[in-house]
Symmetry: C2
Subunit: 157 residues, 2 copies
């Protein structure tokens, strides 16, 4: 039996295939796809000075003026503590501003600046254009189906 030939493992030549049984696990397949999309999105956002997390927070702030950091954390499923540096970065870049809330001196009301709005629009457009390429093999209907199915997976106790 030995290895007379140096690569009996069919897939070495074919790049993929060794993970066949992993692909039956949804978590694996979703993560694999997520990695592809994340790497791609990061590259798209980089020239705009945004990372994925700062982009996400920026969109929420643009859509919902006067939102607080805690609300952002809840919306994006992240810890409050992790929003701090993200909001810091957006403020540093002058894409958003922290404003005081008259009725609650603990909280900040976050509002996008004009440049923040413009950056958001540019980023959304760039990502959208890029996804058009990544999803070129899927029909509109298939894309909608994919999104809908993903949306139905929720954390379980």
């Amino acid at each position: 039996m030995g290895q007379a030939r140096k690569i009996p493992v069919k897939s070495a030549a074919e790049d993929g295939g060794l993970d066949a049984s992993l692909r039956e696990i949804l978590g694996y397949t979703v993560k694999r796809t997520s990695n592809i999309l994340q790497a791609d999105a990061a590259a798209v956002l980089d020239p705009l000075g945004l990372r994925i997390t700062t982009f996400s927070a920026l969109v929420v702030i643009c859509d919902h003026p006067d939102v607080t950091q805690s609300q952002i954390a809840a919306a994006l499923n992240m810890e409050r503590s992790n929003t701090v540096l993200i909001i810091d970065a957006l403020e540093e870049a002058e894409l958003i501003g922290r404003h005081r809330v008259p009725t609650d001196r603990r909280a900040y009301a976050l509002r996008a600046t004009l440049e923040g709005m413009k950056t958001r629009d540019a980023a959304v457009r760039a990502l959208s254009d890029r996804e058009e390429i990544l999803l070129q093999d899927l029909s509109r209907e298939e894309r909608a189906t994919l999104m809908a199915l993903l949306g139905r997976i929720k954390p379980q106790p």
Copy 2:
């Protein structure tokens, strides 16, 4: 057109919903789902002494005896350098062994131990049981559709 309507921040009370416009971006929705599944899978694997990366490598090794680290890296879409510590961990736990390749003294032929096989089986079963719960709202057909659609998203140049 401006923003005549100000979007009255409906969602502050409702916990979710603030990310509505992000959810239209596939990358965001996929990542969100991925995070849910990852956190869940990590909790399932933890009692077995596995992390997600070590589990993935273990499965590939069990399925393909004498696979090399480079092949694992290619299959799992990771850098060769990052396989080292993963394989180290599996070897340390005596779930796999590094064996020399007679024809190439640079490479290691990786083989699972008996305990490695057992651990793999237990992990796959535990993950499968858990996914059954997470996917209870999706029919068999819908799950198959989801997997197939995800499989059609590939990295683009």
